[in-house]
């Protein structure tokens, strides 16, 4: 029943587009050295003063504030939700984040805490982070999570992907999409396990074709997590997919993004590859657990001309 999709033509036949043309799809080959050079350009952009404030505010608005630990408790999630809604309790000019991202078992708690706020609940699902659970369990878990979460962050089946069973990967994504109804679906590719940029491109395309609303780099549990070269490849895949289908897919780097400077580099990449339409939480998210306070420090530094002590910001 699983399709074995090996080459370009077969891939194309499995997709909606069936005419054979040289238009780039999921099967283009990439040059790692040149991708890395392009990524360096993004991280070398100098974003200062007003543009830095704009970037930092946007980053907060696009943050999925995340806790994904075995030790997560209701108390921990409550603290996180409070931080998500008002990152600085006595400063209303600091916007709320986009979402709080938790395990399915904490989704109900998050939902209760965030009631009445613009912050939505995102829940991981499908056997996060490894995805090594039976397909029915994945569907059931996603459906359960969708009772409380507006957004589902599912993990792609890397095992099937690396076996070349691309159709299975797509069927599973489509199955989850069906199970969660109108909830937004983010598909985590776990790029650090795919083995190269060609595979990142291919996985991005498979996920978008199968119904992902967002493609997301990583679970944060595997190294390397998000990297700029991977972001470049995924953003270019999103651009090509938009050209091919008219559908705008979102991008979410996650894992290892701790400093505002790193986050700004991703924003620069989004800005220069995709532009204005992606500079909003409907199309761009950053998954992070410890990024927010550095972004706040940078905002106050720009506003007041000096750094504040990390103790001035609450944990979460």
């Amino acid at each position: 029943m699983d399709g074995w999709v090996h080459n370009r033509d077969q891939m194309r036949n499995s997709a909606a587009a069936s005419t054979l043309s040289a238009t780039p799809d999921g099967a283009v080959s990439l040059d790692q050295v040149a991708v890395e050079a392009r990524a360096r350009l993004f991280s070398s952009r100098s974003v200062k003063r007003g543009s830095k404030l704009f970037a930092c505010n946007l980053i907060i608005t696009c943050t999925d504030l995340t806790t994904l630990e075995g030790s997560d408790t209701r108390g921990r999630v409550e603290v996180l939700c409070a931080k998500a809604m008002r990152p600085v309790p006595d400063d209303a000019t600091i916007p709320a984040v986009a979402a709080v991202c938790v395990y399915p078992s904490q989704a109900a708690t998050a939902r209760r805490c965030l009631q009445g706020s613009p912050v939505v609940v995102a829940s991981v699902a499908t056997g996060f982070p490894s995805g090594q659970v039976p397909a029915e369990v994945k569907i059931a878990e996603a459906g359960e999570a969708a009772r409380f979460a507006e957004e589902i962050d599912m993990v792609m089946d890397r095992g099937a992907f690396l076996e070349g069973r691309h159709l299975k990967v797509q069927q599973e994504i489509a199955g989850v999409k069906e199970a969660i109804g109108d909830r937004h679906l983010k598909v985590i590719l776990e790029t650090g396990e795919l083995g190269g940029l060609d595979q990142v491109r291919r996985a991005s395309w498979l996920a978008m074709e199968a119904g992902a609303d967002f493609i997301k780099t990583s679970t944060g549990k595997i190294q390397p997590a998000a990297t700029l070269p991977v972001a470049v490849v995924m953003l270019e895949a999103i651009r090509d997919f938009a050209w091919a289908t008219g559908r705008e897919i979102g991008f979410k780097p996650a894992g290892g993004i701790r400093s505002a400077k790193q986050a700004v580099a991703y924003l620069v990449a989004v800005n220069e590859i995709l532009g204005d339409r992606w500079l909003r939480p409907q199309r761009f998210r950053i998954g992070a657990s410890s990024l927010l306070n550095d972004v706040l420090m940078q905002i106050y530094k720009e506003r007041r001309g000096g750094y504040q002590s990390p103790q001035d910001f609450s944990e979460a």
Partner: protein, 512 residues
């Protein structure tokens, strides 16, 4: 088995309630993926650490001296047209003095051991690194190139060249089968305005490593980093006369290359001047190496990594405003992917930031001079006149200074002037091909032969192409990569002689 989402009043919030960024304006007609929301504020490199003299003399015999004519000409910042400094106007008698100083110095310098010469070269390299910020800023001020390039490419590459040749100075006995070779004598070197400091390093480093002394003439519009290098020679306590620098216009260069006291002339610049020099030197017994113009083909096959190839094409033609002799100015793209390739190329070019060379975010700086701008404009006019289709992104150019937007011509025929003549500006001529054989024919259909680029995923095709492309350098799946160990130079009207590597060293030695 799947639990369907609840349809109760506990229904989750709609995504539309998400905190929203300002709603982006729809793009202007024809502009894909507009990006105007997130603008980068000017991030100007500081000039506080740079002290320029009001007036510079000639560097002869280890010190700055007044020119015989007492005349000076201004050197300006092409981004603002403001004067930066006055630079001495040398005449034939100054050239005499410089060659004489170099001849005297040659007696000592050529007898130093390789190890001793190496110490001086290492010292020059380190001082150049120490003063790299200053040199980068001055290079951008005087020549108009983006600070990102002068900081990350020109100055580090110049230092690298000095280090590399410092390493050779005491190992010449191992470099050639014919033995260590002998130094030639005084070398006359004339360099262009596109990479002033780097071309100086390319010329001076191998000459000094092999025991020669030099008289160097920097370009009229970009003399300042050469004069700072003169100061570095003083700082390094290089023996007087080993490096001499004479500034001025074309007549100074003409007087220098014709000087009977030279053993060799090394010239980098236009093909027209190169031919003139070759005529003037005929029968003089002087050695000559010429690195001249180019009209490089950049060949994109349908199986190439398309976005990286776009990046390579952008780097190939817009690096240093296209003022690059090896610029990939003729794009040959396989017809089957021409349309998607050009769509991506146009989008990428629309993102290039043209403006203040000192802004760290600038991708394309100022055109080097009024004269060069006039030449670019004339050739672009010719391209439009001949019926090619011109694309330029709608970028705002500053009021003052010399500017030209990145430009792409499609519908170019091989017979068009823009497909044959070196424009030396940010102007790309796009043509298509059907088969590898046709790609080779089109690529080689030029008077020049300096460089070429090939993009394909097929390793065998890279080798097949590079065996057939008549060019001194063939880059595969990259462009504009330089290394001091790799010889650089051309075929046909791109000149002869090589710079870099042992081949470059051999140009400065005789073995008989």
């Amino acid at each position: 088995m799947a639990t369907s989402p609840p349809k109760t009043s506990a229904r989750p919030k709609s995504l539309d309630l998400l905190p929203d960024a300002p709603v982006p304006a729809e793009g202007e007609a024809g502009v894909e993926f507009p990006n105007r929301l997130f603008e980068y504020e000017p991030a100007k490199e500081s000039t506080e650490h740079v002290r320029l003299e009001d007036r510079y003399g000639l560097f002869i015999g280890g010190r700055f001296v007044n020119p015989h004519s007492k005349a000076h000409h201004p050197t300006i910042n092409p981004a603002t047209e403001e004067q930066l400094a006055l630079v001495a106007e040398a005449d034939a008698s100054d050239v005499d003095r410089a060659v004489e100083a170099a001849s005297r110095a040659f007696l000592q310098w050529s007898r130093l051991s390789g190890g001793q010469r190496a110490r001086f070269l290492f010292r020059l390299a380190r001082l150049l690194q120490e003063r790299s910020r200053e040199l980068a800023v001055v290079e951008s001020l005087d020549g108009g190139k983006p600070i990102r390039e002068s900081r990350d490419f020109d100055v580090p590459a110049a230092a690298q060249h000095l280090f590399y040749h410092a390493g050779w100075a005491d190992k010449l006995g191992f470099a050639f089968a014919a033995g260590p070779g002998r130094a030639l004598g005084v070398i006359g070197q004339v360099i262009p305005w596109n990479f002033p400091l780097l071309m100086l390093a390319w010329k001076v480093a191998p000459a000094l490593a092999t025991g020669n002394t030099v008289v160097l003439k920097p370009a009229e519009t970009t003399p300042l980093t050469a004069l700072l290098f003169a100061d570095i020679c003083r700082q390094a306590e290089l023996p007087p006369g080993v490096v001499n620098i004479v500034t001025g216009g074309p007549e100074v260069g003409a007087a220098l290359v014709r000087h009977p006291g030279l053993a060799k002339v090394a010239f980098t610049g236009s093909t027209a001047v190169g031919k003139e020099i070759q005529r003037a030197l005929a029968g003089s017994g002087k050695r000559l190496s010429l690195e001249l113009g180019g009209k490089a083909a950049h060949v994109i096959f349908e199986d190439s990594p398309i976005d990286q190839a776009v990046e390579g094409v952008v780097n190939g033609i817009f690096f240093n405003q296209g003022h690059v002799c090896c610029a990939g100015s003729r794009l040959l793209v396989q017809e089957s992917i021409a349309e998607p390739f050009l769509r991506r190329l146009r989008l990428r070019v629309s993102r290039l930031r043209v403006g203040d060379p000192l802004d760290k975010n600038t991708d394309i700086g100022a055109i080097n001079s009024r004269a060069q701008l006039d030449r670019i404009e004339a050739l672009v006019q010719a391209g439009v006149g001949e019926g090619a289709h011109l694309y330029q992104p709608g970028c705002e150019l500053p009021d003052r200074g010399f500017w030209f937007p990145p430009s792409i011509f499609t519908g170019v025929a091989p017979a068009h002037r823009i497909a044959r003549e070196e424009i030396f500006g940010p102007v790309l001529a796009v043509m298509t091909f059907r088969t590898p054989k046709e790609a080779v024919e089109r690529a080689n259909n030029t008077r020049y032969g300096l460089s070429a680029g090939v993009w394909t995923s097929k390793g065998s095709r890279i080798l097949w192409m590079s065996q057939r492309l008549r060019a001194g350098v063939v880059w595969a799946n990259t462009y504009n990569q330089f290394d001091p160990a790799s010889p650089f130079g051309g075929y046909r009207e791109s000149g002869f002689g090589r710079e870099g590597g042992v081949q470059g060293l051999a140009e400065y030695l005789e073995f008989s």
